[in-house]
Symmetry: C2
Amino acid sequence: MAAKKPTDSRGAARSALSERTDAQTRKGIVELGARVVRQSLAETDPFVDVPLRSLSNTSFNARKRLLEMGDSTQRRNLFNTAQARKFMQTVLLSKGCKDLIEAGKTLSLRGMYYMSLHTIPGTREKTFEGQEESDGILEDIEVALEALRENLHLFAKKRGTMVGPITVRDNGDEIDCRRMGTGGYAIPSICEPGVVEFGKCDAKFVLHVEKDTVWSRFNEDRFWEKHNCILTEGSGQPPRGVRRLLWRLHHELKLPIYCLLDCDPWGHYIFSVIKQGSINLAFESSRLAIPDAKFLGIRAEDYERCELTDDVKIELNDRDIERAKQIAGYPWFVDKKPWQKEIQRMLRNGFKMEVESLITKDISYVTEEYVPARLKARDWLE
Amino acid sequence: MAAKKPTDSRGAARSALSERTDAQTRKGIVELGARVVRQSLAETDPFVDVPLRSLSNTSFNARKRLLEMGDSTQRRNLFNTAQARKFMQTVLLSKGCKDLIEAGKTLSLRGMYYMSLHTIPGTREKTFEGQEESDGILEDIEVALEALRENLHLFAKKRGTMVGPITVRDNGDEIDCRRMGTGGYAIPSICEPGVVEFGKCDAKFVLHVEKDTVWSRFNEDRFWEKHNCILTEGSGQPPRGVRRLLWRLHHELKLPIYCLLDCDPWGHYIFSVIKQGSINLAFESSRLAIPDAKFLGIRAEDYERCELTDDVKIELNDRDIERAKQIAGYPWFVDKKPWQKEIQRMLRNGFKMEVESLITKDISYVTEEYVPARLKARDWLE
């Protein structure tokens, strides 16, 4: 357990990401340090092994339908001028995370950067040149310890909101997401069990929309009340907190996840990450990816199906076309005829469309007709 | 009152920004249209007058301590090739806002752009080339009608969160900001009376911090509970919703507003906008600006006062130096010796500092020592 755990009961609740996980993570860090000490005392060159986070060490597991990280690792030695800096940074930040866990506190990535920032005595060398350097090492530590960033007590910028027929216990507070007004419940950066727990839930599914402005349209039209669903948004590419929350709603509460995203390569990529995971966080796919997530739209055929006007067309640029082809080639899309057809049709159209384009029909067309019709017809891409 | 007002009681609550305001705003739009019709029937060149939103038409009212818009207007005629497009856009978007008010619905700025987007029959001319065009015209309409964007039923991207000893009624839902867990209450884009109402409040002041990651530190340390305050953040330059909420907390509940921002020109500018208003929204200063807001820090002297190390220094670049001098020259800073000293000292330091830099002292130094000490010593800039 945490050594200097605060006596404040709420602070404690906060730290208890789960006491077991905290103890495990701390143990992992202590072992990493002990290995380095043993190597040093044995007068060998100390090192840490860090799994490789690269496309070459990432593969698609067709059975689990997830992106997974392979077994390749990279050794970082202290007595190697090319590796010494990263070796020392890894040890330094590991200690920082240990301190955080023991204090029962959490910190932003920027905060951790500052906490570990100093000038090496007797030199003008700083421990980090910038936050990017420490962010990268922190991801290495996650992978090396097989611990989520959340287990290291670190968080990123918070984005995303939720409403719907569910009660959430967040750090001991009961939050009734049925009564969150126009603003909604701000989804925390850390959505792990122990911090966020689910209470009474009457929802039948989750509708996840790309943008908060679209979310506001659905919330104002009380879509979640009429259709008995949870309504979430991730302000673009959803951050880990939102993905983890969706994952838990899906796996723990068995709720299907429907996504309403733009008809463009960015929308398709957001869906791909929600569904199969991302290359950079492949080691976390099993705790973040939702292979059964469905893509409701916007579909390339909607231009004709919904009788939209030319005004909604946003021309695909060269970069879009290149991205679309890349996405069509992803192993988890390449064998899926409906997705191949979808991307081909978008390319043939020559334009992208945003969810907001449905407003040209009617303010509430998207909430009153489009989504209900797709759900009723079970018309989505998987 | 709204014509097609929805029967759903909550939808209605949402629309009732205040029925009186809705009726007034609608009347203003109808009058604008009626004038154009009268001019047309009289076979004169129809026009709309739009107050000028520019630095030249903005002045600092030293008595009210607010930025104010002057009386200069710009006439937009239909029969003038340089003005016809903007004239027609103004009329078109005014109609869009009237439709929204009558439907009792709200829409994002992007949504309104789409709603008003079409190709003029018989031409290949679109009503707007992009959203920037419609956003600008919507600001013109606000000024011309002396109505807030919120009164036009329009909202922007939502940012910012709040916790603290206050109960808020948001669209009829009671939200107890004392029990919002780690996530907090997401501050809506529209924080007008009628949508957001204040219930029981035990707070003695508001602490507004620049970033959500810093906010999380304060929330985790239960600062708001220990110090009986409301804790808000605006994710950088606070959006209108957050500014309006702060304004209302200050004016309606008489709470002092203390700001904790970075020691850099951007932090100073954020404070300037919170306190005196912005040039672009000068016409709304009286409903957004808080002349009594206080700047707690970070102060340029904190490098020495808090015994920080060189690691926290972020060198000022040319652009920073230029901005700092501009800000020092603002009429509302130019006569304030403490602000002149502050900016001079930062320039002499040659570096900026972020709030997070205090983490180099201790994770909770900012919540346990820095802010309490400043408050106790009444040590702030005004």
